[in-house]
């Protein structure tokens, strides 16, 4: 059976970067999650799930978003979760690893060119693979790999 892959990105730059990576998931059963309605899935036939966004500026939005993500995870039961951030990706990786034991990948935004994001640090231990898009930020000791960049 094809792997079920949950692809998570908040709307805007995170989403655009995730859409640029879809050839990696060819032939897999993919479902997308984002934070703004009206988006079309860049691949596959499943509808795009929408959860609330949250950030350090709006932490009160985190609990409802966690509940929404939980519903998505329980319904879809992904084998793999890949995210380009931000807050919904952190939540998806934590819940997906703890609840489902999913294989998890964090891809830090190409915007983080001087240091990896706070979010990337928050998923340490929950992401099996953490990628930066900047070669100079790869750090084996910290478990940050570099595979390339979306452009």
């Amino acid at each position: 059976m094809a792997d079920r892959v949950l692809l998570v990105a908040s709307a805007g730059g995170h989403w655009v970067q995730l859409a640029r990576l879809v050839p990696a998931f060819e032939g897999m059963d993919v479902k997308f999650v984002t934070t703004v309605a009206g988006g079309r899935a860049p691949m596959g036939r499943r509808s795009v799930a929408v959860v609330w966004d949250a950030s350090q500026s709006s932490p009160w939005r985190l609990p409802p978003m966690m509940a929404q993500m939980m519903v998505v995870l329980i319904r879809f039961r992904p084998d793999i979760i890949v995210t380009t951030g931000a807050a919904p990706g952190v939540v998806a990786l934590w819940l997906g690893k703890i609840l489902l034991g999913a294989r998890t990948v964090w891809i830090d935004s190409v915007a983080n060119s001087e240091k990896v994001s706070l979010s990337a640090r928050l998923v340490e231990g929950k992401a099996d693979l953490r990628l930066t898009q900047w070669a100079h930020l790869a750090d084996a000791a910290k478990g940050i790999d570099y595979f390339g960049a979306v452009l």
Partner: protein, 164 residues
């Protein structure tokens, strides 16, 4: 048509006001704006707080010029569509973002053809004064290089636990 966008999370009144002021003296040019939670109320821009993804993509395709905060989504999409884009980074010092990464993004794209970085409102107004002559990005493919996506796929396949 000119499209202005500042992302969905944070206000960017300095940019919205600057473009609104410019549009006031250029009444024949249509400017559509996605201003998020900005508190400044534009007088001349056709402004929306938020647009759904389909509507926004359509505006990006229709626009002759995109003006944006230094967000990767706007920059990458403008490059893919071959649309000239003026980017003004949010200033951490003014409390316009949670950190200084937009200034780093602006520096990263300073020499990219078709991506016109404006450090401040003065530079933005300069760019706008010649907006019909701004160069276009050469256009990038819709996907990341296969070197990246193939390696990511190889990693994912390597973590399968022999279940078929």
């Amino acid at each position: 048509m000119i499209l202005l966008s500042v992302g969905t999370q944070l206000p960017f009144d300095r940019l919205v006001r600057a473009v609104d002021d410019w549009a006031l003296v250029h009444p024949r040019i249509e400017v559509i704006a996605q201003i998020g939670p900005s508190t400044y109320r534009p007088h001349t821009l056709k402004a929306f707080a938020f647009l759904d993804q389909g509507a926004f993509l359509d505006l990006q395709k229709r626009a002759d010029l995109h003006i944006s905060h230094a967000g990767m989504g706007s920059i990458l999409t403008a490059m893919e569509y071959g649309k000239p884009i003026i980017v003004m980074p949010r200033d951490f010092g003014r409390g316009e973002h949670r950190n200084g990464h937009q200034a780093a993004t602006a520096r990263r794209f300073a020499d990219t053809p078709g991506v016109h970085v404006a450090a401040d409102v003065g530079a933005l107004t300069d760019r706008l004064s010649q907006f019909r002559n701004l160069s276009r990005p050469s256009g990038i493919t819709a996907h990341a290089s296969p070197a990246f996506t193939d390696r990511l796929r190889a990693y994912l396949d390597s973590t399968r636990s022999g279940r078929e």
